[in-house]
């Protein structure tokens, strides 16, 4: 099982390759070292959970992976392309084409319909004009909301809203689906539904990275990366991580998956 993790991370065709990543914030006179030389590699079609307590650098890493921020030092190769020194315009294009974001609070535009919300990334895409409706409808169909395309966010339940957000994230077939606490605002039944959806999308070939602090969520992933003080504390298959054992219902599943991987 340890080998599987290594094989995925050590491969030369790694989707995400981060080397010696550092990030220093200056808050007044204080300097905060959010990341202190972090190394990480994620391969194609992995499903990874990034965990850590607050202050561990988890959010900073997510912002780096999502190309929302630039590192102070180190290198970030996305799809073999160095994105660590790109300008705001280039980064915007990378986000548009390579990254799909899912946020804790959904971030849907309240006055637009589900369909219009899903179409949003196409507004900023090259050649987003053609076939936009069909693509958006297909994405909504994939998340099981084909019947709700003309509803506005306030006419949808929390789970449905997050499904719209996921449809929006996968619309451009991004390299990474990056979810930041995607179930933080949902009840447990809906959480299970959304996580099942993530697993389903992953099964269709999508690379998924979920940032979370809940073991229950992490248990749905195949690999768990734990951070502490801006460095990787542990990087294990889910079955070997403590997350895999926290919930009996899931642990059996995770163990089975871990066993499969072995």
């Amino acid at each position: 099982m340890a080998e599987s993790a290594r094989a995925a991370s050590g491969g030369s065709d790694a989707l995400i390759e981060v080397r010696g990543l550092t990030k220093i914030y200056k808050v007044g006179v204080e300097t905060i070292h959010a990341l202190r030389g972090l190394d990480l590699a994620i391969g194609r079609n992995e499903m990874v959970a990034i965990m850590g307590s607050s202050g561990s650098g988890k959010s900073t890493l997510m912002n780096m992976l999502g190309c929302l921020d630039r590192p102070t030092g180190g290198q970030y190769l996305l799809n073999g392309r160095d994105v660590s020194h790109m300008g705001a315009r280039e980064l915007a294009q990378v986000r548009n084409e390579e990254i799909g974001f899912v946020f804790q609070s959904f971030e849907l535009l309240p006055r637009q319909t589900a369909l219009e919300n899903v179409e949003l990334p196409l507004i900023y895409a090259k050649g987003g004009w053609r076939g936009r409706r069909a693509r958006a409808l297909a994405a909504l169909d994939r998340v099981g909301l084909a019947q709700r395309v003309h509803h506005r966010p306030n006419q949808l339940s929390g789970g449905q809203r997050q499904r719209v957000a996921i449809a929006r994230a996968i619309l451009n077939k991004p390299s990474i689906l990056l979810a930041d606490e995607p179930t933080g605002n949902l009840d447990s039944a809906t959480t299970a539904e959304i996580l099942t959806l993530f697993r389903q999308i992953h099964a269709e070939g999508q690379t998924v990275v979920i940032v979370t602090h809940e073991d229950e969520v992490a248990a749905h992933c195949h690999r768990v990366v734990r951070l502490r003080d801006g460095r990787v504390l542990s990087d294990l298959p889910v079955a070997q991580d403590s997350a895999g054992r926290h919930l009996p219902g899931v642990s059996a599943l995770a163990a089975a998956k871990g066993g499969d991987a072995c």
Binding site: L68, A88, F101, E107, L120, P121, Y124, A125, W129
Partner: protein
């Protein structure tokens, strides 16, 4: 950026944003609305005034000219005393006989005299001395009795013409031909009645009673060096310029002015007045333009204020848009477009209100603005100014939005 979907959504978003905050948008755009409305109304009034005045000039006759005594600019008064430069009757005669482009000409001298009819006395009525050709020059003919003839002029006959307003003011019978009145103590027979015209300029028709006597008689009733002018009519408006030259030539010869010598008279054609009025109207239009500039500045500050509020309200939305790939330029354009749209909507309402005001102006009795209307260029200009205001004052908030850090923006409460 060139994606049509971007422009489509930016424009529809701008309108939905205005629709969602209707009252706020209205109050914001009020500055623009008031500015555009007041300016278009002023321009409409001016257009009406202009049309009115030009028609009046035309009714006077576009081919009309005047000869006045005139001192050269900055020349000392004592060098050109009035006795030397006054227009003389023989000069009028010379113009009449020699100028081929002059159809009709008359000297006019006006003198204030007491006029008495029975026990009714009116002090200081303006009595004008004229030649028979005056009827042609002024395009005013008699409605009763007969016009002046050369015999009246040559024989210095004590006859007069009056206008219909003078009939009422002097308590004369409805057909006063054959009656007589005392003008400056002399008895004059009324031989005809001329129509009262409105061809006088605004505010100048203080007394509407008019009395006309032969020029030769009027000359005798005044001092030796009395003031007179020459009024005449060119054969057509097209020859006005050549005609003016001809009159000047005759006048120079009569006065013995050598080539290069200064002219002690002026020949003014009516189209000169039209030009002067047009220049005045253009000046007022420019002032109105200045007012619109100031009001749009004030309105623009309101726009900037509300756009800053909008940017801070929608910080999370901006963050999300950036996360899904909006470049700083796309965000900038979106907010700029919103400001411009808001201003254009304001401009549209302003023009509508201005149009309503212009319509109201035409209904004011006695204001003589029945031709008030907003010209097309003013509509175009109002929209252009509004859009420009949106661009200028929307720029700062839009730049602010475009520079927001996506992480900070998404964390914004």
């Amino acid at each position: 950026m060139l994606n049509p979907l971007f422009w489509l959504q930016a424009i529809s978003l701008a309108f939905s944003q205005i629709w969602a905050n209707k009252s706020r948008a209205f109050l914001t755009a009020l500055g623009i609305i008031v500015g555009v409305a007041s300016t278009t109304a002023v321009i409409a009034a001016l257009t009406g005034l202009r049309a009115r005045v030009l028609t009046e000039f035309e009714s006077v006759g576009a081919s009309k000219f005047f000869v006045f005594p005139d001192r050269p600019d900055n020349a000392p008064r004592n060098l050109y005393p009035f006795e030397k430069i006054r227009v003389r009757p023989e000069e009028a005669r010379a113009i009449k006989e020699e100028c081929t482009l002059v159809k009709a000409v008359t000297p006019v001298t006006e003198v204030g005299l007491d006029v008495q009819q029975g026990d009714k006395i009116i002090d200081g009525i303006t009595v004008a001395g004229i030649w028979p050709d005056w009827h042609v020059v002024q395009n005013r003919f008699v409605v009763e009795g007969r016009p002046f003839t050369q015999i009246d002029e040559d024989g210095e006959r004590q006859v007069c013409l009056i206008n219909s307003d003078a009939i009422t003011e002097l308590n004369l019978p409805a057909n006063p031909v054959g009656e007589s009145i005392l003008i400056g103590g002399r008895r004059f027979a009324i031989v005809g009645v001329v129509e009262t015209t409105q061809a006088r300029f605004f505010g100048m028709n203080t007394s509407s009673a008019e009395i006309f006597i032969p020029f030769s008689v009027a000359a005798k009733m005044q001092d030796l060096n009395f003031f007179m002018r020459v009024e005449g009519l060119f054969t057509s408006p097209e020859v006005a310029e050549d005609g003016q030259e001809e009159v000047r030539f005759v006048m120079r010869r009569m006065r013995g002015i050598l080539p290069g010598g200064v002219e002690t008279f002026s020949v003014t054609a009516i189209d000169r007045f039209i030009e002067q009025f047009k220049a005045l109207a253009a000046g007022i239009t420019a002032i109105a333009g200045g007012i619109v500039g100031i009001s749009l500045l004030v309105g623009g500050i309101g726009i900037m204020n509300i756009m800053l509020v909008s940017v801070s309200e929608r910080t999370r939305e901006i963050g999300l848009r950036k996360a899904v790939g909006a470049t700083p330029m796309a965000i900038l354009l979106q907010f700029l477009l919103e400001a411009v749209t808001l201003c254009l909507v304001g401009g549209f309402i302003g023009i509508a209100v201005g149009r309503l005001a212009a319509f109201g102006l035409t209904k004011i009795p006695g204001a003589q603005l029945d031709q008030a209307d907003i010209p097309f260029w003013a509509v175009v200009l109002s929209f252009a100014f509004s859009a420009f205001t949106g661009l200028v004052f929307g720029m700062f908030p839009a730049i602010k939005a475009s520079r927001l850090d996506p992480i900070e923006a998404l964390r914004h409460e």
